[in-house]
Symmetry: D2
Subunit: 346 residues, 4 copies
């Protein structure tokens, strides 16, 4: 019997609406590299959804590529990016940022988040030194919404970070690989237009949110727009058949599909969370989105792994492991039923 | 009336078989990053087609990405890659190779090709200098099959280049973005297994050959295999839903689909070539594949552009332009009929 | 009245013997780029001092340059260097290592040192992960002898680190910007030949040890020797008048000058240490070399700064500061007398 | 008998005045990294000599380092630098510019020079393309004064280049590694202040002009000044004992020493030129500065090489070679007498 996968949010293909539309448009002739009408339309839909009529929107294929391209477009060679130690760019991208020549100035994270005060300290420490030119200059902030641990910044936390950035004239970049799961969370107190106003650049993730692939980069700060397409091309991120990205985002951005898919994933994650809490397991991190991190005794983990594929996140001690349960737009209710049933029998 | 596009070989989506298969497998649960059964199967099919049972096969999304990743994986920081001045890496990738720290040692090309003797000279010049360490060390060769001008190296030319590389212990990398159009050409005198033996690394292009996207990198030289996945990931080329690449190459490599699609494109290109020659136009480059480069009077070009989208390649003089006519797996016979008709009326 | 400087170990020019010799040889005609007889002779003297007759020796101008060049010559693009969080490459080189494309994998340091067990853990964590290619691969170790805090690794600690490196097939690089102060310390239990055997590559610092400038890189591991001059040239470190480096190291390596100068600095540092301890001040770090780090009340610091230039290292709290007192080969005994006198009167 | 060297302009140490001054100041205590009074004074002298009171002046150690640092400070990652195919950055720096991520957009040179019209064409070609983002964006111009072949741009040529740069909003960088030999040439029609007005950034070379080492970078364009010290430090070019550079430039910039030394070299070069011309040898390039390039029969070259060290520049055919005769501030009249005598006897 095949195991059911709760391993990640990219185990399946894509929302059926997208495949359908790809089929319908397959023989259309379109210009390449993102300059076709589908991309143009998708850009317009995203600007509207963000209430950012002047924003530039670019489509990239994946998250590591989007992060590296955006950061490369902002920093000068001697500058670095402030991020959480648990940030995706700090640990899970094989040094893509360093490959581009930049240091990730990693700050200790709590539940995947860093706070305005830490950022302020980092900046003040740099400039208060004699000879600041002997150290990497902190010049932008990277955070993820939701974080790599599924947690959310409150609107106030984002405003505080935004303000520190403003005072120090550095941009705020929000990694939105799972943006929908965040915005659709019951605990989110922020809307997409509000987030678009607080960030200088961010992306509306597709890969983990129902598309085959794709990340829609939104640049709201005019100072960051110049020549961005050169960066995309140089970084190997300019898809020849750009239409594929345009068509996918046309679908995602219509009929509330983006948030509908995310809401479904969050609901299934919440069901799993409840079952695990009722059974007395401890949350490793309190996450209100589609990723759930729990501390499990290794024996229980082993029994779960007979039927399910899960993500082993970290070892706690010789007997306990932090395990990630991940749902997605594609997670089937009946598979969650089965998982809960198994949990209850542990 | 919409114009018919002969502009490039990525104007349409993909071969219907591929879309069909993507739909059928859409809700399968698969592990990410190219380690799923579809990728494994596609790798096996490619190894067989290449008669290279020990080769490593990796799937990347696009050509610039594939070129940058492969070259980065081979060269040390002080080394450069020998290429034609007209090579894709030399002019059409926004300096992606330089971004990775390497100089493209561009050699004058004839009809898009460089020859073994030029490569030999370049290597000898470097090492005969006092203090060779003051110049970039030539350390690999990049050629395209077919070239960016649609032309083909003969088997003997490839052997000669291969032998120079062998003598100087540097690898030969063949950019196969349009590999199928080359192999399927009536003028090709080489097979895929033969080409696989002469190259140390090459790729079987998908984007321009009927896939939505994708390039299958084949590493036959064992010395070049180590840690290649790190390079893919760092370069932003590791697709989360790797299955998409696996599924596409499963289809392309079955039932002779890859070459069948290419043959069709070549046939349509040949029809256009004949019509243009009969009308007395001059070939800019004698191409036996899907790209045709002709010198057209600007007036004639203007009249063609009323109904067709073509690629303007270069200006010859104030009155003449080099124009590219490009066909693909998706080019409709009836559209070529129309184009020929228009040519005949010029 | 001019203040006396105990700020760093590069406040003065160079040992008089060196200037004398530069004058004597000034009009000699020599070939450039380090291939002259002085460099050759100096290399021979260094090999002898290290009892490493097969070692390659290269002369570079400064420490940041030497670190960046060496690390660049060893790592592949996806690899990183393990170092202490307080290591020079981690914080004081404006991201020179990242500029070269590599992540510094910083490990928590105690008194400026990291231990074999930490290195082992870092390596094991990397390889035990699913998909290690998603993180930077640790591929070399960087330590400083003495450390940036003036402390010394014991021979046993170095052997342990060496053994971990050996087991994991990664090289050990020792930054010896202040090597002499370490070897000449009363608490050192290691000799230069012993250190040369434990390191795969290291340098014999000149800039901070009595030369005008210069660092002599010693490569003992044959696998690291290839094409090193290309790296020097590319990194802008190949001095046209290489003779200047050769002549300086000829002098330093003769008549025990290198260690004699260092011993003098250590003695003066020890005198300052004793005076501060007797007065009841607390060492921030127990250093047996030419740098002394003490916690001073801000008021006392202010009084000292009326007459002396010191280095403010770190703030402890609102009332206390960590201050560095630094001596060198050039420190005058009578100036230390004066400083001690002032300390006693605080 | 030792051979007399006419091989390059860095065969000897430095002007005696410099060594003298280094000795006198040797035990002064100075702050490091170029912030000492000698550097400050030298900066002031250079600003005066350039009549550029607002210019920023920075001291670097060598030419490759200066070129790489300046270019890195100006270009964004997707931009390249226009230069002559014979430019130092294009061929003699082991790809230092590419290591920094940038393409050298090499233009065919005549006698080492490129012209305004070529630069204009290069810029127009780039922007006239569909999708300019597929190619490296030309964003600065690099020329050398004198060129690598000893030739000089006329004031008008420089003005024309300056104007093209101005129109396209890109900076002009003049490599002045041998600036003095150019300015002191009888054929020069430009002064240092005039050159300083035409360039956005340039350097006053020391290494090849009588200093032990050193290049004084002058930034006249305010837009290029920001954070330049970060670039120096990151590139490994920030000399700890910056005083050494300050002291050397204090001497060079006083009492007309810089141009006096250069004039001497040019005079000796002219004597050699005359002797070779009288003997009927052909100039390879008509140079009015300290480097003379002549076509010699290989037999004659062999005979000269019995007594002199010369630079073999290029092979013309199987029987002829282009040879460089190079003089410097240090070239002894009596050695030139001997060389001329030998030439006359050939």
């Amino acid at each position: 019997m095949e195991k059911i996968q709760f391993q990640c949010d990219y185990n399946e293909g894509c929302a059926p609406q997208i495949l359908q539309r790809l089929s319908e448009t397959n023989l259309e002739q379109n210009i390449g590299y993102g300059e076709d009408p589908h991309c143009e339309h998708a850009r317009e839909l995203i600007r509207k959804a963000c209430e950012a009529s002047e924003a530039d929107v670019h489509f990239l294929v994946g998250g590591t590529q989007a992060n590296a391209t955006i950061i490369s477009s902002i920093l000068r060679p001697y500058q670095g990016v402030i991020a959480a130690t648990t940030g995706h760019i700090a640990i899970h991208e094989t040094g893509a940022i360093e490959h581009g020549g930049h240091k990730v100035l990693a700050q200790p994270a709590t539940n995947g988040k860093i706070q305005a005060e830490q950022i302020k300290q980092c900046l003040q420490n740099h400039y208060s030194e004699d000879g600041p030119e002997h150290a990497v200059q902190p010049a932008m902030v990277y955070i993820s919404y939701p974080t790599e641990y599924g947690t959310l910044y409150s609107k106030q936390e984002l405003k505080d970070i935004h303000n520190v950035c403003l005072q120090h004239h550095i941009p705020l970049f929000i990694d939105g690989a799972r943006l929908g799961y965040g915005l659709a969370s019951k605990e989110s107190d922020i809307t997409l237009p509000e987030l678009a106003k607080l960030a200088d650049v961010f992306y509306v993730g597709g890969t983990k949110q129902g598309a085959l692939f794709g990340e829609a980069v939104v640049i709201t700060n005019p100072a960051l727009k110049k020549d961005f397409r050169y960066f995309i091309k140089q970084g190997g991120g300019m898809l020849a058949k750009g239409r594929l990205l345009g068509i996918q985002y046309e679908e995602l951005m219509q009929n509330d599909l983006y948030l509908t898919l995310a809401r479904h994933a969050n609901e299934q994650a919440e069901r799993i969370q409840k079952a695990l809490l009722q059974k007395g397991y401890k949350m490793a991190v309190p996450s209100p989105t589609n990723q759930q991190f729990f501390v499990l005794p290794n024996d229980d983990l082993k029994r779960l792994e007979e039927k399910y594929v899960l993500s082993v996140w970290d070892r706690v001690d010789t007997d306990h492991t932090i395990v990630r349960f991940c749902t997605s737009w594609a997670t089937k209710k009946e598979n969650v039923d089965k998982l809960i049933d198994t949990i209850n029998r542990l």
